[in-house]
Amino acid sequence: MIPGEFEYHAPSTVEDAVSLLDTLGDEAKVLAGGHSLVPAMRFRLAQPRHLVDINRIAGLSYVREEDGHLVIGALTRESELEHSSLVAGRYPLLADAGRVIADPLVRNRGTVGGNLAHADPANDHPAVMLAYGATLVARGPGGERVIPVDDFFVGLFESALKPNELLVEIRIPSPGAGSGGAYRKLERKVGDYAISAAAVQLTMDGSMCTAARIALTNVSPVPMRANAAEAEILGEEPTEDAIEAAGRAAAAECDPSADLRGSEEYKRDITRVLVKRAIRAAVTRAQGGA
């Protein structure tokens, strides 16, 4: 399994990268962690004429809090998130996901930006960022563009990024008091893509749920919010009945297809179970539990 031939470019600045992408157009692919792209090239499912390697661009890898947001450089490796005490302490939904993306060696190389820009509904970050209501920052020839995550995923493997734009930063609103989140994923074995997974981020005021965003992994052609599920708990007390209703709503609104991971019916029901478990965990965390 040998990749086809290509021209390799290694710009050292975002400007140079954008300029290359602008010149090369559709014939170029951005190489970040490469852990989706390189295997696809080895199978010759992807045969780009040009690779623009952004790994030599300084200043795209960071995780810090700033202006009420967790800001993550697009080139930040998954393992940096996984081992970040800031993430572990304040962003449990992100921390949950960070432990179940692929395997430790892939996480050493795979990037947060790549996981999102690939717009693969099987990837874990899309649902996480949808649940957080993150914004994504792109740089193009015309400068910077801020894209709300709800507008980012437009099709299967298709994001709102233009061919000459580079994703440079992800901004997650820092959760306020009474917030909690959780990611619950069912996989066939460790390191696998999800059979289904649920990302939940919510805020509790006493026993009432005052904000809730729920998103799903690998049960739709495009990464999706579970709006109907959210509606079942938003402004409500998340009783077992309400949580069950949210699970059922998610099972109804998702759009899985049958494959080796399971039948459509199975995936819908597992989504119900995972949404419930993620809500329960998020509520517990919002109320100060582990």
Partner: protein, 811 residues
């Protein structure tokens, strides 16, 4: 193939002296001091220094001057006519030297077909049609690996798709004929049976209880981490063909190559270097090997061919794929009386099973297992489908895994049906220690066993009775927990040559020991380690017999120019056959050493006795000659009239197979929401007779247990209705990691083999055989109260989810 069509086997009894009941102990036998490191010592492996430094030498590490690379064009269809192969664009690519097609092989002397080990035929490269997805269509030879990979994309093959037949029951209808090259236009290949049909029917007629269950053991793949490959190096000047290849059976392969190619056998050297795992997958001859050798013949240059993972998973031989319907009968006292089994074996597009030639279903008739019953009858029918040919063992002795899975599932179903505890039910039905040697209803003679002891030990370690209490409490709370037992009997060490051969070559094995003047030694064997640790365990056998420290014994295998002829390593046969040959060769040396010692000590041979590493005068041990003294004398001061030197060869033909056994207990928790099964604990008590190296035996058992867990819960080769393989990468063929694999708890009992010179039995495959039914039984045990009677492996979360939801259980 008349001998394949029907044979009721009757194995001869073991020779005189073997018919005795063996005592069982927990104590590992050690007779040599640490510095000698004979049997029973936990010796660190001698082969490890090179592996831990990255200095192992595998086939892909072989690099020869001027070496070319071969890559293979494979069929995108499971069944299709080949209309045209246009290689012009590939051949026009700089660096491409040749494209080899089926027609080229035909012109080279009908090399486009080759025999399988089961006396069937298999295409090397096709001319008219392909019969499985990813079948080899033609090969490109180029100066570089990357160029060859590019060039296979440029070979344009025109196909006319034909209907695939994926399901063996469909295949039996003969609507689509897979092998139209055959005279008989049918997909039914063979019928085979064992046991006494009439007696079995009678037992079923008289039974108080009969349980019946169908089950499928699906296709799986050995998936050794090293794929298959070859470097073929033909020297036109000397007419010698050197074949570095990933093979478990280098000598047999050399003979097959000689017969097929017409090259003289002394001009073929097969070298099996370090092998990155075999598990049966490196027993067959795959088309790629043949084409690679032809490529070297054609170009006169060394040619390397290394499969990638997808080729390995999609085209190499599979294991299992048995569709079984079994019935088990019991009398009014709950005593098992009989077993009746019908089986459909999906061969794929050729019967390329790696079985002894007279055994188309291998040792499947061992299926009465550890239980004493009056009668049994087992039938198997082999069928062609448009899938890759096989099958190989996947770390088991010729279909014993299928047999054990079936009998252990049936025993468990019967126990549950009768409302009896599965452990107590097994004890009631076990063959008892005093019944050994035991003649089974299908004709096997079990050499030794103590099934009660192994099960009692496993129950004790895991706390079986307490677990049953915990299960009852949990069940009352709606939690799902199961306990599963498997008390298996294995049959390994083929074999007595009167019954077992491969293409007519008898299944003996061999050892050759040469003691150097300074008392160090080299020994060569006809087997080939693929990780089993032969360089250590064989050295310990020689240390045990001769007292030469194991550290002073060099072990070599795998080079047909130097090693004695043997049948290779698979089916847990190395210790039972080659290991025994090592002991017997050592004893020949010991006998000569006695003569030399008598000469040196000026006493009669009868005045001497052996002690660890020396011959000493009876009653005065101060008067002695060590093996080192004797070795030196053998070259410097040997008796007049005696040949100089100290070496011996033994070709060991075992009087019987060995029958290792064990009892495994698994505890599982089932997630009623997702259907996930977690193996919480797993205790394995194995009895492989006398233990040569406990460290190595533990490693073998751990590894086999994970390879048993794998098909129980994860692994399956899946095809769609067009015969396309959907699990052709490690992303979808789910090999367990350290996370899925539980912390195995192992222990042993020791019941020596009465006929093996060291009292040892094979062990490497027992755990692969025993683990799947233990896990399956545990899962069914967790769900029995919900009306679940059986679930086919792999037990995926989706299968459990369906059973739970059907039973009205949810989360």
């Amino acid at each position: 193939m008349s001998h394949l069509e029907s044979s009721v086997q009757s194995l001869h009894p073991a020779p005189e002296g073997a018919s005795k009941q063996m005592e069982t102990t927990d104590q590992i036998r050690i007779t040599t001091p640490e510095k000698v490191c004979g049997m029973g010592h936990r010796m660190k492996r001698k082969e490890d220094p090179r592996f831990i430094r990255g200095q192992g030498h595998y086939v892909d590490d072989v690099k020869l001057p001027g070496m070319l690379y071969m890559d293979i064009v494979r069929s995108p269809y499971a069944h299709a006519k080949i209309l045209n192969i246009d290689a012009s664009e590939a051949l026009a690519t700089p660096g491409v030297l040749a494209v080899i097609t089926g027609k080229d092989l035909k012109d080279a002397g009908n090399l486009h077909w080759m025999p399988t080990l089961m006396s069937d035929t298999q295409m090397v490269l096709p001319i008219d049609k392909v019969v499985y997805f990813a079948q080899e269509v033609c090969a490109v030879v180029a100066t570089e690996r990357y160029i060859a990979a590019d060039a296979i994309e440029k070979v344009n093959v025109e196909y006319e798709p034909l209907p695939a037949v994926v399901d063996p029951f469909e295949a039996l209808k003969d609507e689509v004929i897979v092998r139209d090259d055959k005279e008989k236009k049918t997909n039914h290949v063979w019928h085979w049976e064992a046991g006494d049909k009439e007696a079995t029917d009678k037992v079923f007629g008289e039974a108080a209880t009969v349980v019946k269950q169908s089950m499928h053991l699906p296709r799986i793949h050995v998936a050794s981490i090293e794929t298959c490959g070859m470097v073929a190096n033909y020297d036109p000047t000397m007419g010698k063909m050197q074949l570095y290849m990933t093979t478990q059976a280098p000598h047999a392969i050399r003979t097959v190559f000689a017969l097929v190619s017409g090259l003289p056998e002394h001009k073929i050297q097969v070298i099996s270097p370090d092998i990155g795992g075999g598990f049966g997958g490196k027993v067959p001859v795959y088309p790629g090997y043949v084409v690679c050798a032809v490529a070297s013949l054609v170009t006169g240059k060394p040619v390397k061919w290394i499969e990638d993972r997808s080729e390995n998973l999609q085209a190499d031989s599979f294991a299992r794929d048995y569709h079984i319907t079994a019935e088990m009968a019991a009398d009014a006292k709950g005593k098992i009386t009989g077993l009746r089994v019908k089986t459909l074996a999906d061969n794929g597009a050729a019967d390329a099973a790696a079985n002894p030639s007279k055994f188309p279903a291998g040792m499947y008739s061992i299926c009465t297992g550890s239980y004493d019953m009056k009668a049994a009858h087992v039938e198997v029918d082999g069928v062609y489908t448009t899938k890759p040919p096989g099958g190989v063992a996947y770390r088991c002795s010729f279909r014993v895994t299928e047999a054990v899975h079936m009998v252990e599932r049936m025993t468990d179903i019967l126990a549950h049906e009768l409302g009896e505890d599965p452990a107590d039910f097994r004890v009631k039905n076990f063959i008892k220690p005093e019944q050994f040697p035991y003649k089974s209803p299908t004709g096997w003679e079990y050499d030794s066993g103590n099934y009660d002891a192994a099960l009692a030990k496993a129950m004790d370690i895991i706390g079986y009775r307490e677990l049953r209490k915990e299960q009852a409490e949990k069940r009352a709370r709606g939690e799902l927990m199961g306990i599963g037992i498997c008390s298996f009997t294995e049959v390994v060490g083929a074999g007595p040559s009167r019954d077992f051969d491969i293409l007519g070559i008898k299944m003996f094995d061999s050892a050759e020991i040469r003691i150097h003047p300074t008392g160090k030694a080299i020994a060569r064997f006809g087997t080939k380690s693929q990780g089993q640790g032969h360089e250590t365990t064989y050295a310990q056998i020689i240390a045990e017999e001769l007292g030469i420290p194991a550290a002073d014994v060099e072990i070599e295998e795998g080079d047909t120019d130097t090693a004695p002829y043997g049948l290779g390593t698979y089916a847990s046969r190395s210790t039972p056959t080659a290991g025994a040959a090592g002991a017997m060769a050592a004893r020949k040396i010991k006998a000569k050493a006695r003569k030399i010692a008598a000469h040196l000590l000026e006493v009669g041979e009868d005045d001497l006795e052996w002690s660890v590493d020396r011959w000493q005068v009876k009653g005065s041990p101060d008067q002695h000659k060590t093996i080192q003294d004797i070795a030196f004398a053998a070259y410097t001061n040997h008796p007049q009239g005696m040949e100089a030197g100290l070496e011996a060869t033994d070709y060991y033909d075992p009087p019987n197979l060995t029958f290792p056994f064990g009892s495994y207990i698994a505890v599982v928790d089932v997630d009623s929401g997702t259907g996930e099964v977690k193996v919480r604990r797993f205790v394995a008590v194995d009895d492989c007779g006398n233990i040569i190296n406990p460290l190595v035996v533990e490693g073998q058992i751990h590894g086999g247990l994970t390879q048993g867990l794998a098909p129980a819960l994860f692994e399956e080769i899946v095809y769609d209705e067009n015969g396309q393989n959907l699990t052709g990468t490690f992303a979808d063929y789910l090999v367990p990691t350290a996370v899925e694999s539980p912390k195995w708890e192992t222990a042993h009992t020791i019941t020596p083999s009465p006929h093996h010179p060291l009292g040892a039995k094979g062990v490497g495959e027992s755990p692969t055989v025993g683990a799947p039914p233990a896990i399956a039984n545990a899962v069914v045990d967790a769900l029995w109260h919900l009306g679940v009677r059986h679930v086919d492996i792999p037990i995926t979360p989706q299968k459990i989810w369906k059973l739970l939801r059907d039973a009205g259980v949810s989360d």
